[in-house]
C-alpha cells in the first residue's frame, strides 16, 4: 500500500470551547490504531467527552470497507459503494491522521511504529485492529491462494472478487463455502452470506448448488436460517456439519479442490473463510497472552497485560458479547467514557451495552438476535440469557419489517461513524 500522509487540523465548530484546548501539549495524547467500527466510535465519543485530548489516528486503508452489508454486495442486492466510506468526516473532527499500517507496537513505551518508519508516542493507546486471518490453519491456503479462493472476511477487494466469480460462474456450478471453528467475527455472517448467494443463484443460475463445509455443528440463529432456506431455497443448500467432518483441512487453488478429512470437492467458486485471531499488531506485541484474543478489563477495556493500552472490538475478549460491528461501536463509546473518566481522575462507571445482529436471509426476509449486557468487574454478561432472537414461525410482515430496520440501522450507524 502506498503511504499517503495527511494531517487534518481541528475544525470543531460544534464545541467552541475546545479549540484553544487542542493546542499541542494541552491535553493527554491518545493514539488510536484502526478507524473501523470500534475505533471510529471511540474517536467520536472521546472527542466530545474530552475535547482537550490530542488524538492521532493510524489507519492503513484509504477508505473504510464495511463487512456489515458486504454480504448484500456478494448477493447482488446493492453495489460496493454502499459499504465504502471516506474517512474525511472522521478525520475532520480534530484528529491528526496518519495514513499507513502500524507495523510495530511496544506496550511498555506505548510507541507505535508506522510502515514509513515514523514513531507515534502517546499517553494512552486504543487498539481496534479487528481480526487477522490464520491462513496457515488450512493446508495450501495463503493470501495468494485467496486471490483464487476468496475469504471475503475483510471487506474490500475480496468482496468484489467473490461477487465477480459468482457472476462469471456458469449455471449448474458448485459454490463451496468453508466455515471455520469459532470464535470468528460475526457468528451469523457465514449463514447470511450463504442465504444471499442462494438468493442470487435461484434467480440467475437455478441449476447451481451451494455446498457448505462447516467446522461447527450448530450455529447462530440456526432455526431461523433453516426456516428461510426451506421456504425460499429448497434443495439449493447442502450443509456438512463438523460432526460429519465438515471442517476444511486443505485447499488447492490450482485445481479448485477443497478437502475435508473425508471428502474432496471440486468447486467452481470457493469461499474459504479461515480461522481467526486478534489483529496482527496486537498478537505481535503479545497482548493476547498467547491465546489468540486479548484479555481486557470488562469495564474500562484496558488490557490486563499492558497498562494504558485499551483494546476493543473483535480483537478483545468481551465476555458474552459477540464479535460484531454493533458491539465494537458500543465498546468504543464505553471505552472513551472510561478513558475520559480516567483522565479526569475518576473511576469508570459500568454500563449496559446492547448488541443486535441483524441478518438478511433474502432482501425482505430479516431477523435478529438482540441482547442487553451488563458490565461488571467479573465480566460482561447478558442480562436475560437466551431471550434475544426473533421467534421461529414469525410472519412475512415481521421479516419484512426487520429487513427494513436492518437497512436503517446500517445507514444510521455508518453515518454516525464516518459521515
Amino acid at each position: 500500500m502506498k503511504m499517503q500522509r495527511r494531517t487534518f487540523v481541528a475544525s470543531l465548530a460544534a464545541l467552541p470551547l475546545a479549540a484553544p484546548a487542542l493546542a499541542r501539549g494541552a491535553g493527554p495524547r491518545v493514539t488510536v490504531v484502526g478507524a473501523g467500527y470500534g475505533g471510529a466510535s471511540f474517536i467520536r465519543t472521546l472527542r466530545r467527552l474530552a475535547p482537550e485530548v490530542e488524538i492521532t489516528v493510524i489507519e492503513q486503508t484509504p477508505r473504510f470497507h464495511s463487512c456489515p452489508f458486504s454480504n448484500g454486495v456478494i448477493g447482488g442486492l446493492w453495489d460496493g459503494d454502499r459499504i465504502s466510506f471516506e474517512y474525511d468526516g472522521l478525520a475532520s473532527t480534530g484528529t491528526r491522521w496518519a495514513s499507513g499500517a502500524a507495523v510495530g507496537f511496544d506496550p511498555a513505551t506505548r510507541e507505535v511504529t508506522l510502515e514509513g518508519g515514523e514513531v507515534v508516542t502517546g499517553d494512552y493507546v486504543l487498539l481496534s485492529p479487528g481480526i487477522s486471518l490464520n491462513f496457515a490453519a488450512i493446508d495450501g491456503y495463503s493470501p495468494e491462494a485467496a486471490e483464487a479462493m476468496p475469504h471475503a472476511w475483510q471487506a474490500g477487494s475480496q468482496t468484489g472478487l467473490l461477487r465477480r466469480q459468482l457472476v462469471e460462474m456458469e449455471d449448474g456450478g458448485t459454490v463451496v463455502v468453508a466455515i471455520p471453528r469459532p470464535p470468528f467475527r460475526c457468528p451469523p455472517g457465514p449463514y447470511e452470506r450463504i442465504s444471499l448467494i442462494a438468493h442470487y443463484l435461484k434467480a440467475a443460475k437455478p441449476a447451481s448448488k451451494i455446498i457448505v463445509l462447516d467446522a461447527q455443528d450448530g450455529f447462530s440463529k440456526q432455526g431461523l436460517f433453516e426456516e428461510c432456506w426451506a421456504a425460499l431455497y429448497p434443495g439449493l443448500i447442502e450443509r456438512i456439519p463438523g460432526a460429519e467432518s465438515g471442517e476444511v483441512e486443505a485447499v488447492d487453488p490450482a485445481t479448485m479442490r477443497v478437502s475435508t478429512a473425508f471428502d474432496d470437492i471440486t468447486a467452481d467458486v470457493a469461499n474459504v473463510i479461515p480461522p481467526q485471531r486478534a489483529g496482527a499488531l496486537a498478537l505481535d506485541a503479545g497482548l493476547d497472552g498467547g491465546i489468540g484474543w486479548c484479555p481486557v478489563d470488562p469495564v474500562s477495556f484496558e488490557s490486563t497485560l499492558a497498562p494504558g493500552v485499551f483494546i476493543i472490538g473483535d480483537a478483545a475478549i468481551m465476555g458474552e458479547m459477540p464479535k460484531s460491528g454493533f458491539s465494537a461501536a458500543q465498546q468504543g463509546s464505553a471505552c472513551a467514557a472510561a478513558l475520559a473518566a480516567r483522565i479526569a481522575g475518576d473511576d469508570p462507571a459500568p454500563r449496559k451495552l446492547i448488541n443486535t445482529c441483524y441478518s438478511l436471509a433474502a432482501p425482505d426476509w430479516g431477523f435478529s438476535v438482540a441482547d442487553v449486557y451488563a458490565q461488571t468487574a467479573d465480566g460482561i454478561a447478558a442480562i436475560r440469557p437466551g431471550g434475544g432472537t426473533t421467534p421461529l414461525g414469525a410472519d412475512a410482515d415481521t421479516h419484512a419489517a426487520e429487513a427494513r430496520y436492518a437497512n436503517s440501522w446500517f445507514d444510521t450507524l455508518t453515518s454516525q461513524l464516518w459521515g
Binding site: A18, Q330, A337, R351, E402
Partner: protein, 103 residues
C-alpha cells in the same frame, strides 16, 4: 480534577442534556444508558430512517412504551427483546433524558 477538566465535563453535560448533570452515584444515568440506543434511533435519538425518533417526545409516553414492550402489552420486532433488561428507574431515566433532547 483540574478546573480545565471540570469545564470540559460541564460543557459536555450541557451538550448531552440536563439529566447527565444531575445524575449522582447510585442514580440511573440516563445519558450513559441512552448512548446504547443511538445506533438504531439516531444520534441523540433524533431518528434513524424507519426507526422512530425519541428526541423531544413526552417522557411519560416513552416510559409507557418501554414498560409496554417489557410486559408484552405492546408488540414490536425488537423492543420486546431489549426493554425487559432495564429496571423501572432506568426506564424513567431514559425517558426523561430523551424527552429533554431538542428534536
Amino acid at each position: 480534577m483540574s478546573g480545565h477538566h471540570r469545564l470540559a465535563i460541564a460543557t459536555l453535560a450541557v451538550a448531552l442534556g440536563p439529566l447527565s448533570a444531575l445524575a449522582g452515584p447510585g442514580d440511573a444515568d440516563g445519558a450513559a444508558l441512552a448512548v446504547a440506543c443511538f445506533s438504531c434511533h439516531g444520534p441523540e435519538g433524533r431518528g434513524g430512517g424507519e426507526i422512530p425518533a425519541l428526541a423531544g417526545r413526552d417522557a411519560g409516553e416513552i416510559a409507557r412504551q418501554l414498560s409496554g414492550y417489557a410486559d408484552g402489552s405492546i408488540p414490536g420486532t425488537i423492543m420486546p427483546r431489549l426493554a425487559p433488561s432495564y429496571t423501572g428507574a432506568e426506564v424513567t431515566a431514559l425517558a426523561d433524558w430523551f424527552a429533554e433532547v431538542a428534536p
